[in-house]
Amino acid sequence: MFAYAVRRILQFIPTILAISLIMFMLLNVLPGNAAMMAMDSRKAKDPEMIEQLKKRWGLDKPLYVRYLLYLKDLAHGDLGRSFIRGDEVGALVAARIWPTLKLAFTAMAIAVILGIPLGFFSALKQGTWLDTASMVGAVSGVSVPQFWLGLLLMYFFAVQFRLLPPSGYGDGDIAHLILPSVTLGVGYTALLARTTRAAVIEVLNTDYIRTARAKGLSELLINRKHVLRNTLILVMTTAGLQFGFLIGQTVIVEKLFSWPGLGSLLVDSIFMRDIPVTQGCILVIISVFLLVNLAVDLLYAFVDPRIEYS
């Protein structure tokens, strides 16, 4: 299994290289440039300074030269330096990744703790009012725009009831974490609930469950030993894949809640055409995505002993 993990990690390299090429090309063909954005476009400006900035940032070099230079730095573990901020991209990203991961993992925890049991019981009570109610809730959860949900939560919990701070990171305390992570987690919870329900219903209709019932096993034992374990594979795949999307969705939530994460850094750098920062953020997000998927694959072996990695 260890060998498998190493192999998979090595496979990341070509993936990341391919993505870096596509990303580099896309970012560099975008119209507009950081030098223009750094000088406020509402003001009269000095065209000479803009040219100097472009030169300093290497924007005057041909595209392939810039890409090779970028790869060279990347091979040395150097993500470059932000055009506009002057900071090292590595340091910028490092400072922002923890808040994003904290947000995403909390949202995932909410989803797993609420979503899976909800889907499970809905499936067991299929067709009852409980099932209908929870599935209506799940559909609403998937459909509700995050931006709007965030504002709604802010309105009730910060303005009306004054229970929680409306936004900000505070000193990293839990109170500041609740509203953004719930906003981020609702859609994910709903999705997990629906996936779990579908998976459980499918398993309930299989022959081995009928056999188990015929053997006279108690419902509790069937559910625990057979239904739950067989459902988990599918649920885990969804959860793992969705985690990547969750990281992507933090963009909206972070902006709304002034959360100092990677998502807001990414958006700002795209708008400012700060190419090194944009590249750094995307690379980190992709790496997290790949690692989480690897972790999910490895977890399969624990859940399902039939799966073996060699």
Binding site: M37, A44, R85, G86, F271
Partner: protein, 538 residues
Amino acid sequence: MRKWMVWMVVCTAFLAFSPSVSIGAEPRSGGALNFMAPYGGDVMTLDSQRTNRVQDYLIAMNIHRALFKWDAEKNRPVLDLAESMEAADDGVTYTFTFYDNIKFHNGRPFTVDDVIWSYERIMRPEGEISPGMRWIGNIKGADAFGKGEADSIEGLRKIDDLTLRITLKDPVNIAYALYDSSLPILPKEEVEKMGREFGNHPVGLGPFKFDSWTKGSEVVLVKNPDYFEKGRPYLDKVVYRIMPEGAARDLAFRAKDLDATIVGSTQYPGYKNDPEISKNMIEVAEMFTRLMGFHPDYEPFSNKKVRQAINYAINDKLIIEKLLKEKAFNAVGFLPTTSPAFDETAEPYGYDPEKAKQLMKEAGYEDGFEFEAIGTTNEAWGTPVLEALIPFLREINVTIKPVQVEGALLGERVDEKNDFQAFIWSYESGPDPLAALKRWHSGTPANAGNSVVYSNPEYDKLLDQAARTRDEAEKMELLKKADRIFQDDAPIWFFNYNKAIMAHQPWVHGLQPVAVEMMYQDMTNVWVDETSPRAKKK
């Protein structure tokens, strides 16, 4: 009895018109203020010499000090670090005497050498952003120093540690020439020690010291107890929350988590009609002019009558009322109402569809034409406004095709490539009226700001004359005339001047209507009374 009533009326009127200074209440020291940095994007650096962004300046201005600062009451720049400034008769030589108790946040006393070093750093940016070059270039020999032709700036002469003589290149108004957010005086030793990190840990001369910065979330400043103005600042702490979303700011303000907020057009009607919030609102005509620029290379726009017709055809007032929810002032010329060279007697174009049709006929465009206008999503100077123009322009058979672009693309097409038929945007039109109007001087290239390639020898002559004139009143008259010519030539559609609005909690005092940019709030005189939930917060 009558006298008493008259006094009552006078006092009430005074109270009603003084936006945030409460009469009778003694300023109180202590407490924290939760403020915001509301503009798009993160704060990039707090080294004001190395940025050109409002979002950075609005925080850094309370960490740093310069030779001049903006006085919101007088509506012009005034001396800051210097006790006095003596002007020689030649109109170019000024002698500054600085206060003797000024210290940097690291404890080192300030001297004239710091001014010289700071201005030299601005002129030799070594490839970095340095918008201040435009201003320091007004000093004699600064350009030569910048190009490496001289070892020092000739126009800067140290008389003693606290006396500096500045010689300008031309007899321009020194207060405007050396007032800009990009010209703070910085401590050499800290900048050299920290290098690029200085922007993350700034050290300055201002009323507040840098405390911490959670990137993407907030910047915290704390009181500088050694600030040179005795008894100032009042606040112990100022927190700048980075909050680009208007709706999120609105909720944080209503939750009393923000002590003040900048108000967008979406929130404005609600705030205006709220009996409590409306009591504590400050409004000002900001020095930004929203306009639609016409490219003269597009044939119909080369005709002055067509451009004038468009100005007559559009009902700006209706658009401001319905779309912008009254959060703007109808534009007259390029210079806003708060500009010292605003011509009170000038009339806006006004809505006159008949005249517009007549002009189109005279221009030979009775059957109209079609043009493409680019703009961003901005609600006050973007595609929503362009869409509102469709029915008005249809009346004169003109079809406008709004095309939505993103800020960086607009910048490239308008400023860099000068490739457009028409665009809608917001342009800085202050504080110095001469500098603002220079944008449209035929000597200003398109990529330096004259995006509509405006050229009128008469206009140029007036500006050149104004630049040489030392009598302020006379200069203003010349500038007024120039703006009238510009208005008559109509190279742009004159839309509006921003009405900037700040709402604050009842316990906040001392915020001011700052016409250069409402968010440029000097926190030196701001204080909070005991009713603030953060009155005792350290």
